[in-house]
């Protein structure tokens, strides 16, 4: 079996952003469930948080291929 250990490393590194994104959307769903009229405001904040957490996974995948 051959392959690059980078990919195992990337899989491990993706755990962090995965948990982070889960927490962000959990909070978003909670917020909307409690106060449905706030959805419009919460949505852009949630997607911004998602994008920032995702950036970590993105840096990871870039480095996995580069290193």
């Amino acid at each position: 079996m051959t392959g690059s250990a980078n990919m195992i490393g990337y899989g491990l590194a993706a755990v962090g952003p995965g948990i982070g994104i889960g927490l962000i959307f959990a909070a978003y769903i909670n917020g909307v469930a409690r106060q449905p009229e706030a959805q419009g405001r919460l949505q852009s904040i949630a997607i911004l948080g998602f994008a920032l957490a995702e950036a970590l996974a993105i840096i990871g995948i870039a480095l996995a291929f580069v290193l």
């Binding site: 419009g40 852009s44 997607i47 911004l48 998602f50 994008a51 995702e54 950036a55 993105i58 840096i59 995948i61 870039a62 291929f65």
Partner: protein, 268 residues
């Protein structure tokens, strides 16, 4: 024109399966003009620009009081970007000059990304990192330029690097951090986010498609049915990708609007 699938080496039974990798994205030039090879993503840039221009030109050609179907569609998606990305984020005072940029950016990226899923094109333009660098560079120039025009060079530098309400020696730590994060890292993450999403989505589709082909045609009889499963997954991934492609266009435009509004803000 060469399709993505034909570039990936479909290995024979003796060679074993060769997984698609970053090399699968180095397409050969479609044709050569004066020594410069014109590749498929370059042609797609033009196609995307023409499609977006054509759509909005056709939608706004007959500006009727009672809109037709096309005009209604054009107005609906235009006002969606204008209100949810422009007005809500930049603020109702300043947002109008940036609406053309944001709308164009959103639809250009959306069409370019959807090229990754449209049959017979099937190559997302922004899975080549240089394309994403160019867009992020444009947005870096724009948000810095509007900030410098509003606050002056030193005022803008102060706005971006000195967080409000912080005093004393902690500033020595925060100013380099804020400088790096707001003026250096931002365009890099902006471009890498778009690039890596398109890259990862396309490589996933390639993996399931070529892997399914290998399992069906070249593998042992016992595991041939797994190839069908791989192709079912390839179709499911394609639908997931449609969502991701839309979301990335939205996020790119959202972050552009956020950066512009941050550059225009009076104080943190």
């Amino acid at each position: 024109m060469s399709f993505a699938g034909s570039v990936v080496s479909l290995s024979g039974s003796e060679g074993g399966f060769v997984a698609p990798g970053p090399d699968s994205f180095n397409l050969p030039p479609v044709f050569t003009v004066a020594g410069v090879g014109i590749t498929k993503p370059m042609l797609e840039l033009f196609l995307a620009a023409i499609l977006v221009f054509w759509f909005f030109w056709a939608a706004s050609r007959k500006r009727a009081m009672v809109p037709g179907k096309l005009q209604f569609a054009g107005e609906a998606i235009y006002s969606g970007v204008r209100n949810s990305l422009g007005r809500d984020l930049i603020g109702s005072k300043d947002f109008m000059p940036f609406v053309p940029y944001l709308v164009t950016l959103f639809f250009f990226i959306l069409v370019s990304n959807w090229f990754g899923s449209i049959p017979f094109i099937q190559f997302p333009t922004f899975s080549r990192v240089s394309m994403a660098y160019a867009l992020a560079g444009l947005s870096w120039v724009i948000y810095n330029a509007v900030g410098i025009r509003r606050h002056g060079f030193l005022g803008y530098l102060r706005l971006q690097t000195v967080p409000g309400g912080v005093k004393g020696p902690i500033l020595a730590l925060l100013i380099p951090l804020e400088f790096m994060s707001n003026l250096v890292i931002r365009p890099i993450t902006l471009s890498l986010r778009l690039f890596a999403n398109m890259f990862a989505g396309h490589i996933l589709a390639l993996l399931f498609a070529t892997g399914g082909e290998y399992l069906l045609l070249h593998a042992d009889t016992a595991i041939k049915p797994v190839g069908i499963l791989a192709w079912v997954m390839a179709i499911a991934i394609a639908f997931l990708e449609l969502l991701v492609q839309f979301l990335q266009a939205y996020v790119f435009t959202l972050l552009n609007a956020m950066y512009i509004s941050g550059a225009l803000a009076e104080e943190h």
